[in-house]
């Protein structure tokens, strides 16, 4: 029963693959290759004077204490965003999965934030938390809490983590809800008959059975926190105050696009590329094995 399709001509399979390959090459391999090449060059903004400098950009980058600080920030940021986005979404999904009146309405409201553009989301957060003109910001200061994310680095970090996590909660919510609904009711009912309470049922049955979803979301959320949170950070803090919210991707943007130092920015992109390859490899090699399917 060999169901493998064998093409008689050599050309046809390549022809069928061509559009996909072309897109991958033009939009992925070409720019990525160019980034790798630029990482070894020093050039002015216009690319008029270009010199090959070998690994100099990388050496400078790794010798920069501020870059190491940025790595630390990124770790705090990614862990914070992923932990909050996953736990809040799971909690909401479990609550929305019960038989309640108007469940559909709640679900739509919870999914909504995902459709909001990062910049708009950030503006909403500014309206809420700006120390002088924001609703909650003013209330906090009025209550005697010195809230000023424009000057307090920890508060700024908290703010970008919350704003980024809030945007991702909806996405996670959809997946968790779908995951919950696919858990066989019979297993849960059997446990209930055996006398297991709802908390115990959740941790011994629901949570392990959800682990494929959780693992998938963990990867997606980490990648999101790493690469897709640029808009929120740019609109809220611009990496400040004093670099407190500068993540790896934001720094690559600032060096490349604002400071017009393409060599340095490309070197950072290459580092990021390596990090992603490493992360993905670790996740699929070690964590996936423990996932209960």
């Amino acid at each position: 029963m060999d169901r493998k399709v064998v093409f008689k001509q050599r050309l046809l399979p390549y022809l069928l693959l061509a559009p996909q390959l072309l897109i991958t090459i033009v939009f992925f391999f070409w720019p990525a290759g160019q980034a790798v090449w630029f990482a070894f060059l020093r050039q002015d903004a216009f690319g008029i004077r270009t010199t090959f400098v070998g690994f100099e950009n990388f050496a400078e980058l790794l010798a920069d204490p501020l870059y190491l600080e940025t790595i630390r920030n990124t770790a705090v940021f990614c862990i914070g965003v992923t932990a909050i986005a996953l736990s809040v979404a799971l909690l909401l999904a479990v609550l929305a999965d019960r038989q309640i009146r108007g469940a559909g309405g709640y679900r739509i409201l919870l999914i909504w934030p995902y459709a909001i553009a990062p910049a708009v989301a950030a503006v909403l957060w500014i309206f809420l938390f700006h120390p002088q003109i924001g609703l909650i910001g003013r209330a906090l200061n009025g209550a005697g809490i010195a809230w000023d994310y424009k000057l307090n680095g920890d508060q700024a970090m908290l703010m970008v983590i919350l704003a980024s996590a809030w945007k991702q909660v909806s996405y996670n919510f959809i997946f968790f809800l779908a995951g919950l609904q696919s858990i066989p009711k019979s297993v849960l009912e059997a446990a209930a008959i055996d006398g297991a309470r709802s908390v115990r049922r959740f941790w011994t049955i629901t949570f392990p059975l959800l682990s494929p979803t959780t693992f998938f979301l963990l990867v997606v959320n980490l990648v999101y926190a790493f690469f897709d949170t640029f808009g929120v950070i740019d609109a809220l803090t611009k990496g400040g105050p004093a670099k407190a919210t500068e993540t790896l991707i934001y720094r690559a943007y600032v060096d490349g696009r604002v400071n017009l130092d393409l060599g340095m920015s490309s070197a950072q992109s290459v580092v990021l590329m390596l990090v992603v390859i490493l992360l993905t490899a670790i996740q699929f090699r070690f964590i996936e094995r423990r996932v209960h399917y």
């Binding site: 020093r42 050039q43 002015d44 903004a45 216009f46 690319g47 008029i48 004077r49 270009t50 010199t51 002088q132 003109i133 000023d148 424009k150 000057l151 307090n152 680095g153 611009k238 400040g240 105050p241 004093a242 670099k243 600032v254 696009r257 604002v258 400071n259 017009l260 130092d261 060599g263």
Partner: protein
Amino acid sequence: MQRRTLMAGAAALGLAAPATIKAQGTGRTQIEFWYGLSGALGERVAEQVKRFNDSQQRFTVNASFKGSYIDTMTGAIAAWRAGNPPHIAQVFEVGTATMMAAGPAIRPVHQLLAEAGVELDPKRYLAGVRGYYSDTQGRLISMPHNSSSAIMWLNLDAFEKAGLSTTELPRTWRQVRAAAEKIKAANAAPSAITGTWPTWIMFEQMAAMHDIPFATRANGFEGMNAELQLTSSFFQKHTEFLLGLQKDGLFRYGGRDNAADPLFPAGEAAISFNSSGNRARVEREARFKWISVPLPYHDDVIQEPKNGVIGGASLWVLSARNRTPEEYRGVAEFFRFISDVDQDLWWHKNTGYVPLTTAAYEKGRAEGYYQQNPGADAAIRQLSRAEPTPNSQGFRLGGFVEIRNVIQEELEKALQGQQNAAQALENANRRGNVVLRNFERANRA
């Protein structure tokens, strides 16, 4: 018979086609112009271009909004690298050194005008504006377009509430501090002082006004090997002064760049430092009496402060292989148009930017514009009150965007209490010099 009608119809169509195209205006040379001003100011740019297009038949300038100043500049550079740049790109003043170092990518304005046979005497532009965009021989490299300067904004209602005079306004930092103390004591505003553009106002403007070098080599005008001079006693004094204001609860840091823009018109701070280009917004939003005056100075450092420096943007002419002389001619004509006295005065009155030419300023004064709008000339007076010295003519430092951010970051760390003024200045100086050396290497190679 039918066939003949068809033929005639086809012939008519064939003949008509070029005619319609011509009527739509392809006979006019098209000039692409990318700009980076949004909101009301962006509308004024579009209006300025429309006035030019309506004024003659030969050229059409197509103005496109390209996002922020940074987006416009990087976009124009990327387009040049791809071989298809706009004819004119609006570039903010901190990008000047980068553009100037771009050699073959740009066409200096003096060369453009000479080749097009359009005569524009550089002397007609305000000294503070002209100097910033000229080479060492006094020839214009880019075209002045929208120039502002930083000034002080005062909430007169809050002043009254605090029992301060609304006619004898503070002129020195000492007086500003005294006024802020009274405002705080009377609780006349949530914060006494705030400010925008920390580096531009507290470092660049202050250096120029007090005739203190910001960097060696005449702030970079004389060469790329300039070095920052931020550790000098003046910056030490001024940074400590700011930290002292903050410690005593008189100064509230409002964030980087223009993040603090809304605070003054919202009545959140009684005294603010901001660009003169903010005038339209304050006029629209402020629900109190206010006035704008020149920036304060330290009277124990200088008795007669020098001129402040400009901010804003200028227009750069980008080269390309397939550009025709006619296209360059169109650019030159556009430059001539916006330098015209009446056009310039219109621009000044409708945007809050300073006039580019002395003649427009004189005309506005003769019309009594500044009597009707007190404070509208604060920036002009500040820009032209002294003959520019090497310390006050402007800045030509590579990677200046990055240097500004470095200074803001180190100042923020000091305001957070992580370091004192001396450490902040030392760190800013060291990191800023690294930027300068990198720029020098990249542009000399």
